[in-house]
């Protein structure tokens, strides 16, 4: 896909780990925010234990670590509008979308209307989304 002189590639960040026990979740978020400056076609996936990253009501006061979950709400400001959650991963964990934060973006082309960034997809649908990417980063 060409956008002026610039080549736009499809980049996907695949998040599969619970937060806080390892550094993967935070590292992924930082890379996503930095790479957002490059104006590429970015999507995020939360699958397997990665779905825990978006749990509502995280409170890290007692474990002495920074709670970075509020930062996911800023992704819309960084023009990251495609966030895929794998349905089976939620089900295996007894969770539903209602347990997760809502993530929104404002659509420039539609009078800044707020729209949902989150797409609930099945494993089979996710396989197709992954297949269409140029680059997939694994965290």
């Amino acid at each position: 896909m060409e956008d002026g002189d610039q080549v736009v590639k499809k980049f996907m960040y695949m998040n599969r780990k619970a937060p806080y026990g390892t550094i993967y979740a935070l590292e992924s978020l930082e890379v996503v925010l930095i790479a957002a400056a490059f104006d590429q076609d970015v999507s995020l996936v939360f699958a397997d234990d990665g779905v825990y990253q978006l749990m509502k009501g995280q409170d890290t006061d007692d474990i002495g670590m920074k709670n970075f979950s509020p930062t996911y709400s800023a992704l819309g400001d960084y023009d990251i509008k495609k966030i895929y959650i794998e349905k089976e991963s939620l089900e295996e964990r007894g969770l539903t979308l209602a347990d997760l934060q809502e993530l929104k973006y404002e659509d420039e082309d539609d009078d800044w209307a707020e729209k949902d960034s989150i797409h609930l997809v099945t494993r089979a649908e996710l396989a197709d989304v992954i297949d269409a990417q140029d680059v997939v980063f694994s965290f």
Binding site: K17, D48, Y52, D62, E92, R93, D99
Partner: protein, 102 residues
């Protein structure tokens, strides 16, 4: 001899909890910490293992790690006891040895 086993990895990601349950002797205790706390939750595809093992083994979960992950104490498998850090210390002191599963 009573042993306290600690598991700090998610059962969805590693089989440490499985191995721990199958090798823990009756009368011993298992404490779930860090990402291991997700194994304590009700209604997951792993909940049944804890429910079954609870007949012979006492289960504990570290409250601060639940709270950090937005997991509610009221949604842990029935019979799993929530402890804080000083409860962790008491458990370690009350058992003859501590085995950390990686």
């Amino acid at each position: 001899m009573t042993m306290l086993h600690t598991v700090n990895k998610s059962p969805f990601e590693r089989n440490a909890l499985d191995s721990c349950i199958s090798l823990a002797k009756a009368g011993s205790s298992i404490l779930l910490t860090e990402d291991g706390v997700v194994g304590a939750m009700q209604g997951t595809s792993h909940s049944k293992k804890i429910e079954e093992a609870m007949a012979n083994i006492s289960f504990y979960v570290l409250g601060p790690d639940l709270k950090a992950r937005g997991l509610s104490e009221s949604n842990v498998v029935n019979g799993v006891k929530v402890v804080d850090y000083s409860g962790f210390v008491d458990l370690a002191a009350d058992h003859e040895s501590v085995q950390s599963w990686l």
